[in-house]
C-alpha cells in the first residue's frame, strides 16, 4: 500500500493515535486526538509530549512510554486504574473528561525506536460499569444494615429473655406452692384461675428457655458435655418423666427398647431435651386415645435410630425442607397446647452437634414418625 495512504488511514481512524520518537517528541497526532485534546497537530508535532501535556510527567504513561522506547515493552493502561490518563475531552462538552484505555507499543523503523499510543474512549462502558458498581454497593449496604438490625434484635431478645426468666421462675414456683396446698385450702373458684395462670407461666417460661437456647446455639455458646450413654436407658427415663404430659393429651407413650445396649457418645441433658420435644409434639398432634411409640433400632453404618411415631393429621411433604427452621408450624395442625415453633429447630441444632441426623416421614391422616440417628460407639472401646 502507498505510504501516504497509510498515513491518511492513521490520521482519520476513529481511535486516538499519537506516535513519539525515541526523544518522546510527537511525530504523529491524528484527527481524533486533535478533536478531543482541542489542539491542532500543527501546534503539537515536533514538541515533546510532556510539553503538550505537562501532567503526564512522571506518570505511569510516561514510564510505559520509556519502557516501550528503551526496553521494547508493550503496555496497557486500562481504565480500571487510570481513568483520565490524558487530558482529553468529550466533543460536546467543554469540561467532561474522556475516560480512556491506552495501549502503548514499541515500533522500530529504519533503526529508530518509536512509540505508538492508541487511545480508546471507554466512557460508555465505564458508565455501565459504574452503574453496576453503584447498584451492587447499594445492595451490600442494605444487607449490612439488615444484618446489624437483626443482630441488635437478637441481642435485645436475649437480654429481655434473661430479665424475664428470673421473675417468671419465681411466679411459677409460687403458683406451684399455692396449688400444692402449702398455704392452705384453695377456694374452688380460685383454683381454676390459678391453674390457668400456672399453665401459662410455665408455657411462657418454656418459650423463654427455648429462645435463650436458640440464641446460645446460634452464637455457638451452647456447651455440650459428652459421655457414653445407653439410649435404652435414656429413652425409658424421658418417657417416664413425660407420661403425665401424654395423659393430659389422652395418649400413652410406649417404649420398645432394644435388647442390646445402644451405646452412644452424647450429652444426656441435651438428648433428653430432643426426646422431650419430639414426645411432646407427638402427643400434641396425635389423635386422642392412641399410643405414641418410641423404638430403638440399629441401622446401617453402625448407627442407632430412635423413632417416635404417632397417629395424627400428619405433615405434608412440602414441609420436608422447612419444618426444622425456626417458627415453622404446619398450617391447620391445631393443638390444645400451643407452641412457639422453636422446638424442632433446637432439636436439629443439638443433633447436628452430635454429628447425627434428624428427620421425619409422614402419611397424612395416618402415622407420623420423627427420628434421629446417632453413631454407636463400640462397646469394646
Amino acid at each position: 500500500m502507498h505510504e501516504q495512504l497509510l498515513t491518511k488511514i492513521a490520521l482519520n481512524t476513529d481511535i486516538g493515535i499519537i506516535v513519539l520518537n525515541s526523544e518522546k517528541t510527537i511525530v504523529l497526532w491524528n484527527k481524533w486526538i486533535e478533536k478531543t485534546s482541542r489542539r491542532a497537530s500543527t501546534e503539537t508535532i515536533g514538541k515533546s509530549l510532556s510539553k503538550v501535556f505537562p501532567e503526564t510527567i512522571g506518570s505511569r504513561l510516561d514510564q510505559a512510554i520509556s519502557g516501550a522506547i528503551n526496553s521494547g515493552n508493550s503496555a496497557l493502561l486500562s481504565s480500571a486504574w487510570n481513568l483520565h490518563t490524558l487530558p482529553l475531552f468529550k466533543t460536546e462538552s467543554t469540561d467532561t473528561r474522556l475516560m480512556q484505555s491506552l495501549m502503548i507499543k514499541p515500533i522500530s523503523f529504519d533503526g529508530e525506536s518509536y512509540c505508538l499510543l492508541e487511545v480508546f474512549d471507554v466512557t460508555n462502558s465505564n458508565n455501565r460499569e459504574a452503574l453496576l458498581r453503584e447498584k451492587t454497593s447499594e445492595s451490600v449496604h442494605a444487607l449490612n444494615a439488615a444484618e446489624t438490625a437483626s443482630k441488635t434484635k437478637t441481642e435485645y431478645v436475649s437480654t429481655v429473655s434473661h430479665e424475664l426468666r428470673t421473675p417468671l421462675t419465681s411466679i411459677t414456683g409460687a403458683l406451684g406452692l399455692i396449688l400444692g396446698g402449702v398455704v392452705g385450702e384453695i377456694p374452688e373458684k380460685a383454683r381454676g384461675l390459678i391453674e390457668v395462670a400456672n399453665y401459662n407461666t410455665t408455657r411462657l417460661l418454656s418459650i423463654i428457655n427455648d429462645l435463650l437456647d436458640i440464641e446460645k446455639i446460634e452464637a455457638g455458646k451452647m456447651e455440650f458435655i459428652f459421655s457414653q450413654v445407653d439410649l435404652n436407658q435414656l429413652c425409658s427415663q424421658v418417657v417416664e418423666h413425660n407420661q403425665n404430659y401424654a395423659q393430659s393429651h389422652n395418649v400413652r407413650f410406649e417404649c420398645h427398647l432394644n435388647k442390646r445396649p445402644m451405646l452412644v457418645s452424647a450429652d444426656t441433658h441435651r438428648i433428653s431435651q430432643v426426646l422431650a420435644n419430639l414426645l411432646s409434639n407427638a402427643a400434641k398432634f396425635s389423635f386422642a386415645d392412641h399410643a405414641v411409640t418410641v423404638t430403638l433400632n440399629e441401622i446401617a453404618n453402625k448407627h442407632c435410630r430412635v423413632a417416635i411415631q404417632n397417629h395424627g393429621n400428619g405433615i405434608p411433604e412440602s414441609y420436608q425442607e422447612t419444618l426444622f427452621e425456626k417458627f415453622t408450624q404446619v398450617q391447620g395442625n391445631q393443638s390444645a397446647s400451643k407452641g412457639s415453633g422453636l422446638g424442632l429447630n433446637i432439636c436439629r441444632a443439638i443433633i447436628n452437634k452430635h454429628d447425627g441426623n434428624i428427620g421425619f416421614h409422614s402419611i397424612l391422616h395416618d402415622t407420623t414418625t420423627f427420628f434421629f440417628d446417632l453413631k454407636l460407639v463400640d462397646s469394646a472401646n
Binding site: R60, Q63, G67, N70, S71, G72, N73, S74, A75, L76, L77, S78, S79, A80, W81, N82, S101, M103, K105, P106, S108, S125, N126, E129, L132, R133, T136, S137, S139, V140
Partner: protein, 204 residues
C-alpha cells in the same frame, strides 16, 4: 532437563527480584497502598511436567495473562493465578465491595487484571533484558481463564519453561501465583550464556 548451577540460579533469581521490586513500586502507586512482590524460587521444567511445578495451584481453574515476546529471546510470558483468586486480587486492588461471582467477571476487571499482569511480566522481561543485555520486544497482554490445557497453545508443546513462583502481598493478604516463560531451547541456551557473561563481568 536444564539445570542452573548455584551461581547462575542465584543471579537469575536476583535479577528477577529486582524487576519485581519495580513492578511492586508501580503497583503501590496505582493502588495507593503497599504492594510487595517477591520471587522465592525459580526452576526449569518441560511442558509435560509443568503441572508438578505449580504446587499450590489447582490447574483446572486458572486465570492467566499472557504476553508474547520476541527479539533475541523469543517466547511467551504468562502470569498464572488461581481462577477465583484473580478476582480477589482485582477487588482488593480496586478496594471494591462488589459481590458478583466469578461468572460475572467483567471486561473491566479482566482489563484491570491484564494491566497488573502486564506490569509484572514487563518488569521481569525488562530486568532480564536490561541487565543481561538483550533486546526483547513484548506484545500486549491477553487475559484468559480455564484449565492449564486450555491456556496452552499447541505450539507451546516444544517449549521449555522457566517457572518463577511469585508471592504478591498487599495489606494482610498473600496471593500466590506463578510467572512462566515459555521459550525454545535456543533462547534458553542464549539466556544461560548471557547469565554467565554477566557473572564474569562482575569484578570479584
Amino acid at each position: 532437563m536444564i539445570t542452573l548451577n548455584e551461581l547462575q540460579h542465584d543471579t537469575l533469581t536476583e535479577i528477577i527480584n529486582i524487576g519485581m521490586g519495580s513492578a511492586a513500586a508501580a503497583m503501590s502507586i496505582m493502588v495507593r497502598d503497599e504492594v510487595n512482590i517477591s520471587v522465592p524460587d525459580i526452576s526449569f521444567s518441560s511442558i509435560d511436567t509443568i503441572q508438578d511445578n505449580l504446587s499450590g495451584l489447582d490447574t483446572n481453574e486458572l486465570a492467566s495473562v499472557r504476553q508474547g515476546f520476541d527479539g533475541e529471546l523469543m517466547g511467551d510470558a504468562m502470569l498464572l493465578f488461581q481462577g477465583d483468586k484473580s478476582l480477589e486480587i482485582v477487588r482488593l486492588l480496586l478496594s471494591n465491595t462488589m459481590t458478583i461471582d466469578n461468572n460475572d467477571f467483567s471486561d473491566f476487571e479482566q482489563e484491570a487484571l491484564s494491566e497488573i499482569g502486564n506490569i509484572i511480566l514487563n518488569a521481569g522481561l525488562s530486568a532480564i533484558a536490561n541487565t543481561l543485555k538483550f533486546t526483547v520486544n513484548s506484545s500486549l497482554p491477553i487475559y484468559k481463564q480455564g484449565n492449564l490445557n486450555k491456556l496452552m497453545a499447541p505450539s507451546d508443546q516444544t517449549q521449555t519453561v522457566l517457572i518463577l513462583r511469585v508471592d504478591l502481598s498487599l495489606e494482610t493478604k498473600q496471593i500466590k501465583g506463578y510467572v512462566i516463560y515459555l521459550m525454545d531451547i535456543q533462547s534458553i541456551d542464549l539466556l544461560i550464556e548471557h547469565i554467565d557473561r554477566y557473572i564474569n563481568s562482575i569484578p570479584s
